[in-house]
């Protein structure tokens, strides 16, 4: 078999060395009742060429990936991925190694993580960042758990309803086991699309553990993060910001500067392919004072015996393999290769490039909205937005479906998640959309209204 190098002669020699006659003898101790039923009823193995053909046929059955003009966003964003990112993450040395337990044999991975951690602190304006989380949603949940470890006596978490539905659901699931914690949802202002800070004020008392806001939020809207943090801090609570569109951090004030204590987010925009939604890469940054409550791996700088700079996993006493049931998290395998992709992407973009990209996204999204308005549609919210916005459009779900016939993925109908936003479409515009794409969107949606 092509993946297994043992020849018949090898097997015979090995069995001889072990002192048994058949491989079966090595598993004879497994209860016969189990062995007898263990055959796997799957078709015979295929040649590589056949596997390739089979998978290509499945890939071809996803017309949505190909030829459609798309304005889908909603937590996953269409950005150009430079070829250099793929060239680097496909290096066997990165792709086929594992968690850098042996520092001396893993300086490639550890240094890249150290660079990732640094980039995330620069983007978020905070002091420490970890080596990666699974995705933005689970990172948000972990941030809430971290806040709970920081303030174990507090019991209420205020979650903005303008956070992406998947993020809210994930926080809910992670918190479901902590019966002592109460989750309250903060409504959003139906006019502006920002989180209703008056209702935050109402819950901002000494029970309040943390408030969680999107930045931008699930409507693409830029939350008044600074004001929210002020309110939370006033009550001694922590502020968590969650960013699904990482490119926004190239332009917006960094969460740390606005008083945020834990900034988490999704790094998929930093050089990861869409891949039907996974893997993404969660990031998390916080104040240095809270580092020991952080979940996930951390790489630190140190020296080798001869004084050379070196990098290694550190502060592992927070982690499951040391701390077991008292660990800050159960995370073990994280999303290291995705963090590497992000590191390469951000290094390529650089200081100017990332900002320019962010500005371009803002520009195109606002252009698109202006043209849609000219075509008779209405923005649902008034607050400033980044590269995503909500338009009001009667019968949005059917409109979106009809647009598909014209090879257009016009946006995500919000109704399934927000019954109160039934006639709306969440439209995301990135640098991948040309003016003619926008024209097409306006024609199709404009005609339909």
């Amino acid at each position: 078999m092509r993946f297994m190098p043992q020849t018949d002669a090898d097997i015979a020699a090995m069995l001889r060395a072990i002192g048994v006659e058949r491989i079966d003898d090595l598993i004879a101790h497994v209860p016969a009742k189990l062995r007898e039923r263990a055959a796997i009823a799957l078709p015979a193995g295929l040649a590589e060429s056949e596997v390739a053909r089979e998978i290509a046929a499945l890939a071809a059955k996803n017309p949505g990936a190909n030829g459609f003009v798309s304005f889908l966003g909603g937590g996953y964003y269409r950005h150009y991925v430079p070829a250099a990112v793929r060239a680097i993450i496909s290096r066997a040395e990165f792709a086929t190694s594992y968690t850098p337990y042996q520092a001396e044999a893993s300086q490639g991975t550890t240094q890249a993580i150290f660079e990732f951690q640094t980039l995330i602190t620069q983007l978020t304006g905070l002091e420490v960042a970890n080596a990666s989380m699974y995705d933005g949603a689970s990172a948000t949940a972990e941030a809430v758990l971290m806040a709970h470890r920081i303030s174990p006596k507090r019991s209420r978490v205020a979650l903005s309803r303008a956070l992406w539905p998947d993020y809210r659901a994930t926080v809910r699931t992670y918190l479901s086991a902590l019966e002592e914690i109460e989750l309250v949802e903060l409504p959003f202002d139906p006019k502006t699309g920002t989180t209703d800070l008056l209702s935050l004020e109402r819950v901002a008392d000494q029970r309040l553990l943390a408030v969680v806001l999107g930045y931008p939020n699930g409507f693409g809207v830029i939350e008044p993060l600074g004001r929210a943090a002020e309110i939370a801090h006033g009550a001694g609570a922590l502020t968590v910001s969650a960013t699904a569109e990482g490119i926004a951090l190239g332009l917006l004030k960094p969460p740390g500067e606005l008083g945020v204590d834990i900034a988490v987010g999704e790094g998929q925009s930093f050089g990861l392919a869409l891949e039907f939604g996974g893997p993404g890469v969660g990031f998390m940054a916080a104040r240095a004072a809270h580092v020991r409550q952080m979940p996930g791996r951390l790489v630190g700088q140190t020296r080798d015996r001869e004084g050379n700079r070196a990098f290694c996993l550190t502060l592992a006493t927070r982690e499951q393999h040391i701390r077991r049931e008292r660990a800050t998290s159960n995370i073990c395998t994280n999303h290291s290769l995705c963090a590497l992709a992000a590191t390469v992407f951000l290094s390529l973009m650089g200081r100017r490039g990332l900002r320019e990209l962010a500005e371009r996204n803002v520009e195109l999204a606002h252009q698109a909205l202006a043209r849609l308005e000219a075509a008779g549609l209405k923005a649902r919210f008034t607050a400033p937005f980044f590269n995503e916005f909500v338009v009001t459009i009667p019968d949005a779900q059917n409109v979106a479906r009809r647009a598909e016939q014209k090879m257009l993925l016009a946006g995500i109908p919000l109704a399934p998640d927000y019954p109160d936003l039934s006639d709306t479409l969440l439209v995301s515009v990135t640098e991948m959309n040309s003016s003619s794409d926008i024209e097409r969107l306006c024609q199709v949606l404009g005609r339909d209204t």
Binding site: F3, V30, E93, Q301, E306, P384
Partner: protein, 509 residues
Amino acid sequence: MAGAKNIKMPASDEKHTQPTTPAPRARVPLIFELSSEGRRGVDLPAREAGAKSGAEILGAELCRANLDGFPELSEPQVMRHFLRLSQLNFCQATQFYPLGSCTMKYNPALNDEAAGLEGFAALHPATPPRLAQGALELMARMESALAEITGMDAVSLHPAAGAQGELTGLLMTRAYHRKRGEPRHKVIIPDTAHGTNPASCTLAGFEVKVARSNKRGFIEAAEIRRMLDGDVAALMVTNPNTLGNFEPEIQEIADALHQRGALLYLDGANLNALMGVAKPGHMGADIVQLNLHKTFSTPHGGGGPGAGPVAVKRHLEPFLPNPRLKKTASGWEFDSNRPDSIGRLRAYHGNFEMIVRAYAYILALGGEGLAEVSRLAILNANYVRKRLEARYPSASAEPSMHECVLTHDLEERAGVSTFEIAKRMLDFGIHPPTIYFPLVVHGALMIEPTETESKEVLDNFVAVMEAIYEEALSEPETVKNAPNTLALRRVDEAEAARHPILRWTAPGR
């Protein structure tokens, strides 16, 4: 390089060994140190003239000053930087990497290409299912393949990794007992368990009860029965256990649990031992999580991404995370309208890219091929164990499955620790096994060769291990000072923890 003169490599038969000398390499500056104002690694398409800039549109109060300290490099520099970094790593593709419990097997080249196909790579997760039927069908086929392999009834591909799979399973356990109207609060875990198991229990709100393994390293049905009370929600156990041994009383234990209304959670990270040998479902498992990055050959990526599907028996199906795949008249759909579901643990539909790779692997091997995988993984582990027996005895007298846990007397005889033995292996170009795990074994070396390594590689490994043993006795300093031939000498991990430096800062700031 000081110490380099001490190195004696074991004599090796040219025909039958992979090369063993490791690859010392240069240190590489940080990307920030290579930066210079004004460089750029990407160009954006030209802007339409006259449009307002993003900062003008949003207004200065929303915008940051600049990205201080962010690197500025050209594309060739970025490329060279990361290629040089890559050269500092050991990896499975170029080295023997018998990291126990991690199943570092060969990652077929095709699978990376499969995952990168436009039809997957460019597929947005919010694409309406009717335009993504290929992806949904692949997921559905993967679910049923995993169900067949594990002998379970239903599978969810949702969790991002093994540990998240564990959490998923434990939250389902919780939900299951609540739904039955008897919330339970304790989970039993053997003392040999992987660290994620107790951590996941805590995260799922359970109190951990540690079951002592017996002298043979096994958990006994008697012990479990003794610990069982109406508040025990489940037993969480790895089989083969972390000693690499098959738990002989697993079925009896399952029966005991079920009698008391508790569930058996089987940590499936060690499934590489079981395919075609014994199905978790037949052992009585109610829940199993699988690590696609282990048994199913998706690359480990320097620490992920992986994927940790959960498989369950029918009675737990309603609790599986959202969304579920559902076959309708018009094709596959996602269904989130499931009142008993524990909800979701992440955005969208799972680590789809890993699922594509693992599915390609399953297609390549087929049912019999997967069984052969486990048989050869078991053969390899037992061969290494036997060959090393004289110097590194097995921590357990029981038959090994796909990995073996060895120990040694060098600490007593020569003051040489397992840690130092591991570092010395680096000089021979071998990635060390997992060490000091399971915790119950003194100075453990947990060796998992996997089925994709040849006899020659194992023979070379044995020769290296023997050489290190002799060397530890004859010139212990060489071992204690290792690595001696890499770009770096021993890295000071204690210092890193004492004075954490967790990011680069511009000099003078």
